[in-house]
Symmetry: D3
Subunit: 300 residues, 6 copies
Amino acid sequence: MESPSIGVGTRVWAFAHILPGAVIGSECNLCDHTFIENDVRIGDRVTIKCGVQIWDGVWLEDDVFVGPNVTFSNDSHPRSRQRPAAFERTLVKRGASIGANATILPGTTIGERAMIGAGAVVTRDVPPLAIVTGNPARIVGYEGTGARDGGQASAAPDGAGAMATLVRGVTLHRLPEVIDLRGSLTFGEAENQVPFPIRRYFVVYNVPSKEVRGEHAHKTLHQFLVCLHGRCRVVADDGADREEFVLDHPTLGLYLPPMTWGIQYKYTEDAVLAVFASDWYDAKSYIRDYSEFLSLVAER
Amino acid sequence: MESPSIGVGTRVWAFAHILPGAVIGSECNLCDHTFIENDVRIGDRVTIKCGVQIWDGVWLEDDVFVGPNVTFSNDSHPRSRQRPAAFERTLVKRGASIGANATILPGTTIGERAMIGAGAVVTRDVPPLAIVTGNPARIVGYEGTGARDGGQASAAPDGAGAMATLVRGVTLHRLPEVIDLRGSLTFGEAENQVPFPIRRYFVVYNVPSKEVRGEHAHKTLHQFLVCLHGRCRVVADDGADREEFVLDHPTLGLYLPPMTWGIQYKYTEDAVLAVFASDWYDAKSYIRDYSEFLSLVAER
Amino acid sequence: MESPSIGVGTRVWAFAHILPGAVIGSECNLCDHTFIENDVRIGDRVTIKCGVQIWDGVWLEDDVFVGPNVTFSNDSHPRSRQRPAAFERTLVKRGASIGANATILPGTTIGERAMIGAGAVVTRDVPPLAIVTGNPARIVGYEGTGARDGGQASAAPDGAGAMATLVRGVTLHRLPEVIDLRGSLTFGEAENQVPFPIRRYFVVYNVPSKEVRGEHAHKTLHQFLVCLHGRCRVVADDGADREEFVLDHPTLGLYLPPMTWGIQYKYTEDAVLAVFASDWYDAKSYIRDYSEFLSLVAER
Amino acid sequence: MESPSIGVGTRVWAFAHILPGAVIGSECNLCDHTFIENDVRIGDRVTIKCGVQIWDGVWLEDDVFVGPNVTFSNDSHPRSRQRPAAFERTLVKRGASIGANATILPGTTIGERAMIGAGAVVTRDVPPLAIVTGNPARIVGYEGTGARDGGQASAAPDGAGAMATLVRGVTLHRLPEVIDLRGSLTFGEAENQVPFPIRRYFVVYNVPSKEVRGEHAHKTLHQFLVCLHGRCRVVADDGADREEFVLDHPTLGLYLPPMTWGIQYKYTEDAVLAVFASDWYDAKSYIRDYSEFLSLVAER
Amino acid sequence: MESPSIGVGTRVWAFAHILPGAVIGSECNLCDHTFIENDVRIGDRVTIKCGVQIWDGVWLEDDVFVGPNVTFSNDSHPRSRQRPAAFERTLVKRGASIGANATILPGTTIGERAMIGAGAVVTRDVPPLAIVTGNPARIVGYEGTGARDGGQASAAPDGAGAMATLVRGVTLHRLPEVIDLRGSLTFGEAENQVPFPIRRYFVVYNVPSKEVRGEHAHKTLHQFLVCLHGRCRVVADDGADREEFVLDHPTLGLYLPPMTWGIQYKYTEDAVLAVFASDWYDAKSYIRDYSEFLSLVAER
Amino acid sequence: MESPSIGVGTRVWAFAHILPGAVIGSECNLCDHTFIENDVRIGDRVTIKCGVQIWDGVWLEDDVFVGPNVTFSNDSHPRSRQRPAAFERTLVKRGASIGANATILPGTTIGERAMIGAGAVVTRDVPPLAIVTGNPARIVGYEGTGARDGGQASAAPDGAGAMATLVRGVTLHRLPEVIDLRGSLTFGEAENQVPFPIRRYFVVYNVPSKEVRGEHAHKTLHQFLVCLHGRCRVVADDGADREEFVLDHPTLGLYLPPMTWGIQYKYTEDAVLAVFASDWYDAKSYIRDYSEFLSLVAER
């Protein structure tokens, strides 16, 4: 406990060792056999369980939980007695939790309220709210959503039509389908099945299964998503409520109004996602930072 | 040669037998060992090679060619001495040719200038201009088109942009593509890459590989075709010129202006064809008869 | 018309040629350009359309229909001027029909009331009632059955239980199924779901898709069929009525009582058909001749 | 070493920390840098290597081995400073071993004498005697069995017949097979190839590859297992000896007499396991607890 | 029978029609309802069964057999009353047989002693001795060979070593194989397992399954063939004896000495055939005409 | 710090525990919460980060880096209080690095300068210079090579010919290819495309994807590698420079002169690697120890 910068109400347990440069907030809990190096910033109300080291370059924001024997590192190509010019930074953002014995590679950012599974080996950035597990870690879900399987669950409209969801303004649509011996056909008309004028389409394909797309909101753009081949999942989030949808048939459309945070993931290898948009492309329409999104939602 | 209704200049060869009810046009050629029943109509300038029987219910329009030993029938479920209530009709339209030893099942229509390959067994209608072979017969091409492989041939635009084709007003488009580690994205904007306002989309999928779709023209509708998964072929025909295109990539678009006869076929099992249209659905927009199409084109 | 053995009421048309050894029944119809060799037996009420040759060794029973340009042969390895020691025999049984331009290889037997499709090339024996098409010809159905798709059609019981069929005594059973995270389980108890004591099971697998199995009835044996993997079709026939069933799920059982003629065909490559039987194996239990089966049924 | 409840002969090494509520048996070994919380029960002769924490809710029975840096946890959804209403319980049963650096998720039970591989991440219950490895951990074998590959190993009967195994009363059977051009057929007759009357069959299918089925014994029921498609493995255990069999062909049957503990696992995706049983279903026949099974075996 | 050029001993049957330009050899047999056009050459001892037409441009060499209703044609793109500038030539070489009702497309050559199956539709040249069936016709075997399955048949050497075959000088070799956990390895040393110095290798791959390669002999070159992936068949022929081999494993080698006619066919899609040769490439080494090969063999 | 055998300049941090039998070199760094048992040898300049135990039987050579919470073990089948007769040895060779929280199973050797990824579970020996990650750990690359994709990268010759590489004497060859409708053919002639006389070929196949082959050099042998099916990677190393090549087409050859260390890995399941060699097999030609190879290179 060599550091002078430890906040009020922070508890440090037995056999812990804190180097003098570390800055630690208030109401934290540092358990037995922990080790805290110098270039470290730890926010308020952080829990660090036994057997954890926080190396130079690792910063933890408020309300982070670090499970027992979680292991950070700060050199991605270590050789004995060869100190890198600068240590890579690892940032764990507000409210994230890291499960027991997980390994966090250097240079990664773990998003707000993300959940790292026990034993996971985190090799790349983790988005806000994502749940990751495995070695290497992959996203398996998002906090606070309940998956809805559009093709099978009774919750999706059986006949052509639309239904409300848990997320403000988001609607799930069953589009018309005409099947005969020559194959199947589905369609949507602008300002009819697709509830806005169509000024643009875009198509996403060849997505590696581990990848996440979307992760942004639009200020004024309306979108309508249809997965024309294969399958993907879409998380829609209005800042308060969140729901996960499986798009797995050309007749299943998902309408996202403006100011909806959207995430697409778990693409099958052969997935083709078509998106119809209410306007031409405008880079200024995008909100790409989740904190900014939350602020804008709060202002409304 | 019992029939009194045989046109001027028609030649009938040795060992042929024509029943009295048959009506045969002028300048025909009926070779050795042919047999013509009563309820038969044969147009002008028809060739019937050796060993062919034309049964009650089989009608041949002008300029038809029937190869040697071609076999028609007029009862799809024959039992000895059980005469059907009425014979099924077979119609071979103007200018069609039937290759040597082909078999034509009863009740079929063979379209104008279609070409039936030698030895083919025709079990269903054959569209105008189609070339069919095999047992059962399948469409392998269309008369007068040169296939153009959109994904490979140098004729398709390499960079984003459009190029003219052999068919009046039809253009082939290479759409923009953005590729990164998260997958690929292509897009089209209305009145920009897609050269008209988009009021409707439709998607065709689950097409059995032997099926043909399209086979019609529109009086005023503009269409833009993109094959988002798998591969299909499109024949475009302005009434005078004809060209065949392979659509095999989400970035390859085909624009069909009004008054273009379009045929889609050779879908792969996994093909998904998206079509953008300039107007809402209107059944009256369709021209479904090729002869009517040719007349309308001629009037313009 | 050199033969003295032609029955009463038989018509022979123009350009036909009958060698003296042929024996032809009454009420037949031999059309133009036919040729009948010597070692030929033709029953009563047989139709032979134009362009057909009946070679030495080909025998046609009563009520056979031979379509135009149908071609028989009697030497499976012909070389010019090398006459085989004996011609192979071809037998077309009572009531069978051969479609236009079909080819019949030497040495084949075509069963009673079988239907050979136009243009088919028949390379092996054809069972009674079978419908065959293609080159080489394959069985595509059976005369007088309506296929019933057990897994999808509403006609199959949805919940566990049994239902009657069109065939006397044959019942279609939906067996209980228990599904949980560890997989699925179905079962049948003797004298309960399986309506007899079980003294034997047998399993059929690795069936080439073109093959037909079964084609027999049992005098006293009860059988219960379940397709445990893949899919096959079963035709059940009580001598008067006939029905075709698709077995495509482990929970779909078909009960065949004694004196039911059964045929299994259209096995998928991976099909595994399990049969439970009410008694140990007894070769004397089998009725393998369809005519004998019909006689025994008639006696009851 | 704050706890008063530490058994005779237990050694506690340097830098270890034991909270006062913990109850620890005799002859244990707690190595350097270990931490033991309050709601903890540790049996006799337990080894806990360096760097391990035993949290509230984790109980270890007698003779358990916990390797170095093994990490337990007791909250499956941790957030900093949000204490769950009750900690989830983890139970490690008698004689189990946990390899170095393994991670054990909260709420799991690890069965008697199970072996957790080094580095494994255990996310679900582990059966008695099972060996698990990987992230997430999967069963890769069972302690004390030698796998016998029924289809290939010379140990399986080549011709039809039965052979003894290492396990009391269990026999491995090669069933008759009849192969011809129409496919293959195998069979078993009750009280003949199947050594008991057959009163019931059941079929297991659609088993996810990671699942284990069986894991029970029957007091009086005889069973005969045949894998009709795909492949699975069966472990048979008479309480003293244990052997593992691969069932991979319809002609390979495994007879399990009463009082045999049976486990089925490593199902291929397409596996179909048929089981014939000597009696109707009776829930009371099952012994589902391995300890109870061992007691009942001992009584005999 | 208008032609003056008909050889001695040739029989012409009823309702046949021969145009004056035809030239027909001696000892032929022209059956009922045949038709022979003008630009036709027919050799000696040719059999033409009923219902066959021989059109302008079709030439038949000595000893050809043409089955009943076999159909030739001489215009590959027929339209009524549009006579091609020149008819395409069809040549049926010495000793070939054409089965009943086969269709021969114009412009094809059918090689010496080839056998065309009944009902086949021949769309491309047929090599000497080949047996073809189907629509379109594919090679299914070669006259006078007995297939030997190298990987399974007991005839192939089990242990490393070579064995003689039915063909002069051709030997079948089992090469050494070393299998361990890291995979398998096989080898051949020049002048040891490979019985000549190696001066060249070549590799054949991506062969469409319908294609035939080889079909030539070498005057002085030694070759050693090994199929390193997939499977293909090789026919070896010394002019007197012929044998067919299946190469389906990297350890199975086939040695072809000089003056061996070799044919490779029935390549699987993934087949890779490696050939080691005793000399550098020399185009003059090839004998590509089977008749020339037979002459050269006879001279030896 | 009970050991008397600790070298000059070695630092030992807080809460560390060193048993008296350990021998530790100079200039080492042993961080907090480490534990060093007795039968341990640690070289000079070794770094051991926090939370690591070095058990009896684990030896670390000079310049090894051991990351935080790395876990060794010395008993592959641990049971509490059952001490093995002898502990298995683990050897980490000169210059190797072990990433954070990795697990090293007992009995493994980690080669010189190998790099073990964070969180990896090492279950088998790791070759010199190899980079491994995952659970279980697999080789993902080699230190100091840049992968060159032979089939796609512009660096490979487009037309037939050879090009130099970064490694002394190693050349990459594009071989001639002849493509026509009958398939593709490539070839190489001895002393021409293959730059030496060919006295032997060997073929490697059925390589499990996790396996590495090669890992040796030859004193005088020349080799030429072509991957005839599938794909594999080859690392060539002259002792100073190293380069990795992808062989993925039959026309891409890699020449390795004598005194080149070669490694082959990342075989696809269907890979077939053919190697042509300049001499017959001679076991004495092999250099199988990388250190010996480096010495021999240095002598030249």
